[in-house]
Assembly symmetry: C2
Homo-oligomer: 333 residues x 2
Amino acid sequence: MVTIKQVSEKAGVSSATVSRVINDTGTVKEKTRKLVVAAMEELGYRHNVVAASLASNKTNTIGYVVPELHGSFFGAMMGGTEQALREARKHMLIATGHSDETIEKTQIEALLSRRCDALILHVEAVSDDYLINLVQQGVKLVVVNRYISDIDDNCISLDNVKGGYLAARHLLDIGHTEIAYLAGSLFKADGINRLVGHKQALKDADINYDDSLMYEGNFQAKSGAEGIRALVARGKPFSAVACANDEMASGAMNALREMGKRVPEDVSVIGFDNIDFASYLTPGLTTIDYPVKQIGTMAAHWVLDRVYGKGSHEFTHVVDPRLILRGTTSSPE
Amino acid sequence: MVTIKQVSEKAGVSSATVSRVINDTGTVKEKTRKLVVAAMEELGYRHNVVAASLASNKTNTIGYVVPELHGSFFGAMMGGTEQALREARKHMLIATGHSDETIEKTQIEALLSRRCDALILHVEAVSDDYLINLVQQGVKLVVVNRYISDIDDNCISLDNVKGGYLAARHLLDIGHTEIAYLAGSLFKADGINRLVGHKQALKDADINYDDSLMYEGNFQAKSGAEGIRALVARGKPFSAVACANDEMASGAMNALREMGKRVPEDVSVIGFDNIDFASYLTPGLTTIDYPVKQIGTMAAHWVLDRVYGKGSHEFTHVVDPRLILRGTTSSPE
DNA sequence: AATCCAATTGTAAGCGCTTTCATTAAATAT
DNA sequence: ATATTTAATGAAAGCGCTTACAATTGGATT
């Protein structure tokens, strides 16, 4: 491996000067710069970022922890981050936490050991206090899809309550009054908040929230289908069903059809997240857009601003969901 | 930041010994080990992997280049890799190439500068020669979803020809003879090979391949719908359509329905890839399973074996696709 | 021509670890 | 008890870079 030293000798300058032209820091005469560049090319020099990181105490690396890599959600988020970071020549070290406290902590610790300049965390099992503590220790981190008031400046999240509200509100607006709800896992903040918004919308419309029209699933398509069957079995009529996410909505649509009910003529369905496939369903799924990519971008901007002090990027802590109208909702007959 | 030196002083040993207990190398008496561990905990020591990497000339980091982060494909692949690597305590540095030659090269170069021990590359724009050259320079890398005969040991790919064959074969088996094909981009190897397999199956069944029943799309859902419309406009009848991937199949299904044709009663549809959503469609999409995750796992195994010499993992260079029967195909009426 | 200042460049001290080699302690053999 | 191995440790030389700080250079100033 050719080193900076060899380049400096070939170019007849000191290694400090070579370092200067590599990093474009300090002042170096154009003539010497060219000399150095030529020497680097001739020798096939490749900068050793590890050594540079050790010396400068900066890695230009952002650690990223997400629950899983599969599925389209986290890819979209990381994609937003990557795009913004790439322009700033930062790189991402990615790890998965599997929604397990021990694993999440291990991964965070590993990323810190690798001296990441900052962390972007989508963690679910670790406690608020643990994260607050990290911040207090001086760890630069941004928590996505989670709100912790003590470190609110470090958080970027979606307003899930508003999303739930928007969905129910749409159903109400087009005339539904008997609205079922297929909830996600209610031990997860997202699951709870979306339902909270739903209830609020009903309340604002003076419609009584009926627990027997609610079914708790787990965000998977299958639980959406099961939910519909359970709801129907309970015997309470409903003309529309709001779902905690698109997967569940998809499962619900299938179950409804199996029972001979048409969507949206007999039952309107609305999802949440607006995953890629929502538009591929027939009819296209009406849903609430979760701007995942935007959240990923925001996280990158936070890091660029706060950690690297690179100008002021567009930035917001709470991202707004919005209604995407497609074909699975219509006024009740 | 507390260093190994401080720990060694607190524990009353040399820094070499501390390094030994951290890395579990060499021999160290149980008693001193405990002493060191205690000192580390008391001081809140955090290993500096950057310094360790520089000294040992090993980063325990694998560089990963994929075209994009969004979508469910690469996430699934990286997920397979990550799972296998995590157990071996290796980490992944992820970069995107955007199917652009310059970007791909820049990213590879950046990962090499960061001294990744190995690279896993899903690159599309860079030439075979470029990759061959890297391997000859001694760069440890595995190319996924691409086959280059000169460095075949470094490649892991799916047998796309066989996949295309399997799909057409299924359609033939259940009695179809007028089979349309919605191709992906034909400047991509995957697009070509899947079509090649398709043609071969027809040939083996003594059925003439008719170019007017083929439409070249671009792997997107929209182009699937457009393809159906174009095919129908051409006036040649067909009772089944094989698609280059599930997205296109989904688009095709929607277009067929819009034209009043039922799937599979009027037209059978088969996809390719078996993305998550294939099973959510109604009816479930019959398709060819692309074992992406498995490919990701294989890539990890290659690295673990060849680069870190960690035992012998299960390993294969060409992964086999297989037919997934669901509801979009049936015998012609 | 002497002086001063800013622009360039060089010197050298780390950054925090790993690892070879030498040394010492402990264990086993004679 | 002494010689011989073997296990456990320490000393110290890097790994390849960055970055104060010092030194030099080359005008510009007076």
